[in-house]
């Protein structure tokens, strides 16, 4: 087993937290994906062991949800193409991201740096067109600012991707005032959330 002791401890705590251990399967899949950078058969087997399910039951759950991925790059760039973003130019933003990264939507680049995907509504409609990197928001993009964002990721390789930083550097209009800055951010291809041990403080 390749999970860190801290991750195993977190997983056991999550299993104990729910009235039925099975409920912990999605949180554990996030931990698995975070620990190994992608969802592996071994990760799913361990999640099954901890929750008392069979590996096939766990795989059946994992395959239902688009955020559980057996292949991901270091940075997952998700460009929203649903109605509000579509009306305001999402197709051009997606094309700029594909072109700048050299990765077509739905794919991961050969160097493993980027996964690019078009996604359905991410709840940033008032700041359309919008995207996420590692599930952290950036709103009010243009094709040019989206290209700059991709170059910034490629050249700077930030350890922690933070929404406020991306928004300040590359964003435009937001759907609502974000309020004070948040110093936590994403360190991998999963949402950054403390109880799952998948977030870190940035600079």
């Amino acid at each position: 087993m390749t999970w860190s002791p801290d991750a195993v401890e977190r997983a056991r705590r999550l299993v104990a937290r729910y009235p039925d251990p099975r409920s912990a399967v999605m949180p554990l899949l996030y931990i698995a994906q975070s620990e190994e950078g992608r969802l592996t058969d071994e990760g799913m087997r361990f999640a099954a062991e901890l929750t008392g399910l069979t590996p096939v039951q766990v795989k059946s759950v994992a395959s239902f949800y688009s955020m559980f991925k057996e292949e991901t790059g270091r940075y997952v760039i998700s460009v929203c193409t649903s109605i509000s973003c579509m009306l305001l130019g999402a197709a051009d933003v997606l094309e700029a991201v594909e072109d700048e990264t050299g990765v077509a939507a739905g794919d991961t680049g050969e160097d493993g740096l980027f996964t690019v995907e078009h996604v359905e509504c991410i709840g940033a409609c008032g700041g359309a067109p919008a995207a996420q990197v590692g599930y952290e928001f950036v709103e009010g993009l243009t094709p040019d600012s989206a290209r700059s964002l991709c170059r910034w990721l490629r050249d700077g390789r930030p350890d922690v991707v933070m929404a406020d930083e991306m928004q300040e550097l590359f964003g435009g209009r937001t759907g609502f005032p974000w309020g004070p800055a948040d110093r936590e951010g994403s360190t991998g291809p999963v949402p950054a959330f403390g109880p799952y041990g998948t977030s870190e403080e940035g600079r």
């Binding site: 999605m26 759950v61 709840g123």
Partner: protein, 429 residues
């Protein structure tokens, strides 16, 4: 019409509205103290008297839903629906990020009223920041004695667990959400039994939206009757509307229902961007049939929307200007539902992707004259009679939701679709 129930704190104290210190300094958790001095059934009575209707989409009266819990079955669960995924909707995200304690207090009061000792907040996976803010608020509330064992010395115990989804719109449907929370595929269940009778772990469960429960502290503080005096009958209280698309000032607006669509789109929203003309708008999220300029002076209420054969749904208003290609817009919405169909029911699984392919070929300039009737025929197989509220051949309303953009363009813009098919001209060509 400037009543602010939900957004006052975040507007007046933007720097720290999400913190416990600011929440307490602005009267926070006083409603909980008051509630703990009341009998649980008194709180349920106040919520019933408020006549608040659920803010997630269906608009079901919250107090009535609470009343469906069987008297003698324990444990009971409270599940907060923070899966907000209806295209155009971003209000719960703001409530979670900017005033999470308002929701936490609503959860504790509601759990006390319903004799619940473990509440779950299911937040969509794409909302890690809202989830972090809420978790921080929950941690603060535990430390301050508002959560955990013996809340404020009352003898009432409550655990709250935040649970992240993983990218599936369908989990906003309450029974799919419960399956997901149980660690299963997010496939809707056949109802009945309704969750209030057999929900999470087959136990009685109340599922309420983030915005709905965020109103509960105000209702307890001011009384259900005071809430019932705000706004028109059938649409009491304030309500968050998410305005987006081709509008000058997109954003979330807390309004008293009963204003007109013109007030909302032209007044608050500043009208269509760039001085262009208005073509249509989606009044309540992607699932809702569209309205057109002749409806601008209709009142924004749940019942008036129903009279116009549409709905306020999740409160998401998506504005389309005169340059919008309606086939392209409809395709975007249909593609969403095709992508998010869980696959259980044949009419939805097959029908949504057939409709997607037909709209794609019309857009490419390869439409056939029969395609218009074909779109309606498929729609009729998913939702017989094409009426509103929709009839269903499916377990949940996702399939019928995909029919809304089809009937909308056929009702209001059939000539445009026909012209595209007859001329064989690709969009923009």
């Amino acid at each position: 019409m400037t009543e602010r129930i939900l957004t006052a704190r975040m507007e007046d104290h933007p720097a720290d509205s999400h913190t416990l210190a600011r929440y307490e300094a602005t009267g926070g958790y006083a409603a909980l103290r008051k509630a703990l001095g009341m009998a649980p059934e008194e709180i349920v009575a106040e919520v019933k008297a408020s006549n608040i209707r659920g803010r997630g989409g269906a608009g079901f009266p919250t107090g009535v839903k609470w009343g469906f819990l069987p008297a003698d079955v324990r444990p009971r669960y409270l599940v907060v629906n923070g899966d907000e995924s209806e295209p155009g909707t971003f209000k719960d995200r703001q409530l979670l990020e900017r005033d999470p304690h308002q929701l936490v207090e609503g959860i504790v009061i509601s759990a006390y009223a319903l004799d619940v000792h473990h509440a779950f907040v299911y937040i969509r996976g794409e909302y890690p920041r809202p989830a972090r803010r809420l978790q921080t608020a929950i941690d603060e509330a535990y430390a301050a004695g508002y959560l955990g064992a013996d809340v404020l010395g009352s003898g009432f115990d409550l655990e709250v667990t935040v649970h992240l989804g993983a990218g599936a719109y369908i989990c906003g449907e309450e029974t799919a959400l419960l399956n997901s929370l149980e660690g299963r595929r997010g496939e809707p269940r056949i109802k009945p039994p309704f969750p209030a009778v057999e929900g999470l772990y087959a136990k009685p469960t109340i599922v309420n939206n983030v915005e709905t429960l965020s109103n509960v502290p105000w209702i307890v503080t001011n009384g259900g009757a005071a809430y019932d005096r705000i706004g028109p009958e059938g649409s009491r209280g304030t309500r968050m509307f998410s305005l987006s698309g081709h509008v000058e000032r997109p954003g979330n607006y807390e309004i008293v229902m009963g204003m007109t669509w013109r007030d909302l789109i032209e007044g608050l929203g500043g009208g269509v961007r760039g001085g262009k003309g208005l073509k249509a708008w989606i009044p309540g999220g992607a699932s809702a049939p569209w309205l057109v300029p002749e409806h601008l002076d209709e009142p924004v209420t749940i019942d008036d929307a129903g009279r116009l054969a549409t709905m306020l749904g999740s409160g998401a208003v998506v504005v389309m200007d005169e340059t919008t290609n309606v086939v392209e817009a409809a395709l975007s919405v249909v593609r969403f539902f095709a992508h998010e169909s869980c696959g259980q029911c044949t009419p939805c699984r097959e029908g949504t992707s057939w409709m997607e392919r037909i709209l794609e070929r019309i857009l490419r300039g390869e439409g056939r004259p029969m395609d218009l009737d074909l779109l309606l025929d498929i729609s009729d197989n998913i939702s017989p009679g094409l009426r509103w509220p929709p009839a269903m051949t499916t377990i949940c309303p996702l399939g019928p939701s995909a029919v809304s953009p089809i009937t909308s363009i056929m009702r209001h813009f059939r000539h445009e679709v026909e012209a595209m098919v007859l001329q064989g001209v690709p969009a923009g060509g």
